[in-house]
Structures are given as structure tokens and as C-alpha cells.
Symmetry: C2
Subunit: 304 residues, 2 copies
């Protein structure tokens, strides 16, 4: 099996936000990165987003301009699967959340990648066992799940399925550390991993307080921020995740479980989407951006 020191090139499959950030995080830590997507346009967007992230890092003095240039030069793009696969030591997949699609894409790369390549999925909601067989190399496959923004929320879930080689789990744990991440190794598969499971419980409870007419979103955030001393509360967090995403997950579980609380929470979130309010990205969510009320210095002391 490949050893940690042999890993040089990381293949990112799917160049959306997660793929961009994971790729950039690897390049920041010296790895060569190959960004693969089926669409040329997605790659062009990814390249310009990565350039913007790098400019931001330079501005924040996280890296120098020279470093930014060197990092950018370590990132390659292609729409050709064969080229993408050729020298991959570790593959990180971030394609849409469909187990059949993920299995198909990874199965395709199994034909093209060298035998040594470790396969990982960045799925947020699925379990690796759902498509481990379809990858064609189940023992070299595990979930390796990042959080946004990858460089600040630097925790990675390492979640093997029952058939994952333990050496692969160990290698991924060390690799996580090498790219500046805190690895959380799960002892068994769990939907929502560790952090997402807790965040979901917190957000569900926060939304219910508003849906039940107990308090306003701002007061709920005020209570959380005032005691936890965090710069953001549950409703600010939802705006940053995107209310479309929060709704999608809430609606998914509401439909599966049929619980009245979940159904009411999903309906509540939908009223925001119907007004085009999806959070930070639309400029409107529970708060107005770019200067949301919760970020104002007097926020905690403004009772509603």
C-alpha cells in the first residue's frame, strides 16, 4: 500500500465550492492538486474562486504573494478523466449527493487510476458503505469529510466503512494533519458524522423556538451568543450555510421521519426561500448583509 510520504498528487473530482476549498487546502500544504470536472465552465469558475481566496489570504497576511503564486502553480485542471487519474495518489470526490452517481464516478476512476490511489468521498449526508462496492476498491475507500471554510473550520471526519483497510484510515488521519486539519476518526459509520449531527440538533432546536412563537431569531441568537461568547448564533450560522441548504436537509428528514416539528421547521424555512432569501449569498436571510445586525457592537444589549 502507498505510504503517507509517497503521496504527492491529490485528485479532486468535482470542482464546486467544496472541491475548490479542499484542493486549495492541499495546495497550501505543498501538495500538487489536479481539479477535475466534467464542465470546462466549472473549472474556469473554480480557478477564479481559488485566485480570489489566495488574494484574500495575502491580504490577511496568511501567506505572501510569492507563496500565493507558487500555490496557484501547484493546481492543475482538466476535463479529461484519463489525464486527471494518471498520477493521482489520493482522490477526493465532491460530486452531487447521489449514491448511484458517486458510485458510478468512482467506479470510472477505478478503471483509470493507478492501483495505489486512495479513494475518498466528501459526502455530507451519505454513508461510504452505500457505494463502497461500486468504487471497485472498497478496502482503499473511506469518507474524508471537510467543513466550510476548510481553512478555518479545520476539522475532517475520517469515516471508514466496515470494509476499509485500517491502514487506509491511519493514512488519512495522518494526511489530515499534514494539511492542517484536525482529524476526527469515527468508530463506525454515522449519518451527519460528528459535528454536523450536533449542529443539526442545535439548529433544529433554534428553529423550533421561533416556529413555536417563543422568541425571535435575533433573541435566540442573542441568548446563544451571550452565553457561549461566540461571534455568531444559530440563525447567523444558517444564513452562512445558505437557507436553501438548511431547508433541503430539514425537508429531507421531515419527509423521511414525518415528525410534525421537522415538517413545521421545513415549512418555516421555505417561506424565506419563497421570498428569495437564501442567506448571505442573496444579501438577505434572517439578517441583511453585508452588515448583519448580529455583527453590530450593540447587538447583545438590544432587547426586542
Amino acid at each position: 500500500m502507498i505510504t503517507i510520504d509517497d503521496i504527492q498528487q491529490i485528485l479532486i473530482v468535482g470542482a464546486g465550492t467544496m472541491g475548490q476549498q479542499i484542493g486549495l487546502q492541499c495546495a497550501l500544504h505543498g501538495y500538487e492538486v489536479m481539479l477535475y470536472d466534467v464542465q470546462e465552465e466549472a473549472l474556469a469558475t473554480a480557478v477564479s474562486r481559488i485566485a480570489a481566496y489566495l488574494a484574500h489570504f495575502v491580504k490577511d497576511k496568511r501567506i505572501t504573494l510569492d507563496e500565493a503564486v507558487a500555490i496557484k502553480e501547484r493546481i492543475f485542471t482538466t476535463t479529461d478523466a484519463e489525464t486527471a487519474a494518471m498520477d493521482a495518489d489520493l482522490l477526493s470526490e465532491s460530486v452531487p449527493e447521489d449514491p448511484v452517481l458517486k458510485g458510478k464516478v468512482l467506479g470510472q476512476f477505478n478503471q483509470l487510476c493507478p492501483p495505489r490511489t486512495i479513494f475518498t468521498t466528501n459526502t455530507s449526508t451519505l454513508l461510504p458503505s452505500m457505494f463502497a462496492t461500486a468504487t471497485g476498491r472498497p478496502s482503499q475507500f473511506a469518507a474524508f469529510h471537510f467543513h466550510l471554510p476548510v481553512w478555518d473550520a479545520n476539522v475532517v471526519d475520517v469515516m471508514p466503512h466496515a470494509g476499509t483497510d485500517t491502514a487506509v484510515t491511519t493514512l488519512l488521519t495522518t494526511f489530515a494533519q499534514r494539511i492542517g486539519q484536525i482529524p476526527i476518526v469515527l468508530d463506525k459509520e454515522h449519518s451527519g458524522y460528528v459535528f454536523n449531527a450536533m449542529l443539526s440538533a442545535l439548529l433544529k432546536s433554534a428553529i423550533s423556538l421561533v416556529v413555536d412563537g417563543v422568541a425571535t431569531p435575533a433573541d435566540v441568537d442573542r441568548a446563544w451568543m451571550g452565553i457561549m461568547k461566540t461571534p455568531i448564533g444559530p440563525f447567523g450560522i444558517q444564513d452562512s450555510i445558505g437557507l436553501d441548504t438548511v431547508w433541503k436537509i430539514t425537508d429531507f428528514w421531515a419527509k423521511i421521519g414525518g415528525h410534525s416539528t421537522d415538517l413545521a421547521n421545513a415549512a418555516f424555512l421555505k417561506t424565506y426561500l419563497d421570498q428569495g432569501k437564501t442567506g448571505i449569498k442573496s444579501g438577505q436571510g434572517f439578517y441583511s448583509y453585508p452588515n448583519p445586525a448580529f455583527a453590530q457592537p450593540d447587538f447583545l444589549h438590544k432587547s426586542e
Copy 2:
């Protein structure tokens, strides 16, 4: 009705930890405080605990030694209900969580206090409507609920019941601000208020991850602290609340609801209590004190 500027003396009924801290917070902000308890011993303990808090504040340069002396001089104690009641403008009750007992105690003080006195309960789990009638002055009564430690977790839930005079709610909101607290006014009664409801959901989810064998307490905390950038995670928080208290609440809801998750979580917490591990106060909980692993600088980067 009494106005905010007329409020001078605060009567604290029940001199346990909450009563001590609420009383001290009022005295810190210039109010005269009368600590009442049925037991002389409880008052003696309260006085020495308050002195220790003040010494700590002086050490941390929150206040000067002269200020500490003046604050201490504003705090009086008595086991005589009549003396306690005589000049009370606002009463804060922190006796054990039993609606019959609370109603009985407040009903007794209703006979002894001047008509102007505003009555409040610091109950964590009950609703004011459960014993509003028993107080004898329901329209001048609401929940006014603090968090520990009162000076740092400076959020107060102001929770009226259906019969509370709105002027009382307004007065309590202003009073909260005058004693350095962030008031959260609830639009209707809700068990667990705002913050506690969310914290319970978070802790339940965290405990379940361990009970289900997904991750260790330390890894759960690591994931939360790594992403939320907080100095403590869900298991550290439980140690600080006290595992006996966390178990009591979990067990209460498990018995009422009968849900398998809650029952399993309560049984898990019980294994700690059976070993005498109640958290910080016993020196052992999920962590060992006074130097818990999560407070060590390398904690986040120690994968288990």
C-alpha cells in the same frame, strides 16, 4: 405599580449557588440584597462563597478591594421571613424545583411582603403558570431566569405567564439591563426557555454520538471546539454543569417521554455517577480536574 427607579432592595429566597450568584450580581450593580434561607448553615456557606467570589473579582481586577468591601456591606442575611420581606422591592426565588414548594414559599412571602414587591422565580425546568395562583399575586409574577456563572453567562430569560402584567415584564427587562444582564423576553412560556432548550438539544446529540459508539467524548469535543472555536465542548460543558444535574434532567425527560435514545443517554450518564464522577466538583467527570485535557494547548491536534 412600583417603577424601576424605586427598586432598591432585592430579596433572594434560597441561598444556594443560584441565589448567591444572583444576589451578588445585584449587589455588584448597587442594589441592597437580602439573602433569606430557612437554614442558618446555608446562609453561612453563602456568605463565605460570596466572599470568595469577591476575592476572585479583585484578583481579576474586575473590582477594587474597596468596591468589594462596599458590595459585601450591601448584602444582608436572615432566616426570619418577616425581616426578609419587610423592605423587599423585588423577590427572586431559587428554592428546589418543586412547583408545590415554590407556590407555598411564594404564597407565604405574599403575606409578608409589601404590596409593591415584584415576585420572580428562577426555576430552570418549571413554568411560572404552574404556581402563579399560589403566589397570591399572579399579575406581579414572572420567571426571571439566570445562567451560571451569572456574571459571565450574563443572559436572563424574562418569561411572563399569561396573567403577568406587561408592565412587570417591561420592568424586569430594564432591571436585567441595570444589573449587567442581556434580557431575552419570551413571547410565551416554554420549558427550558431559550438557551437551555438549545443546549439540551446539543448535549443530547453529543451524548448519543458516544452512546452509539460513533466517537469518544474527547473527539466529540474536538470536533465542536475545532469548528466553533470555543474553549470548551459539549462534554466539558457537562462536567461544568455537574453530571448529576445533567443526568437528573436527562432521566426526568427519559421517564416522561420513554424514548430509547433518552433512556440510553441517562443510563450512560449514570455509569459516571456510580463511580462518583460528577464533573469538576468531584475532580473527575469526562475529564480530570483541575487540568482537563481539553484545556491543554495540544488538545485539538491529538487524534485518539
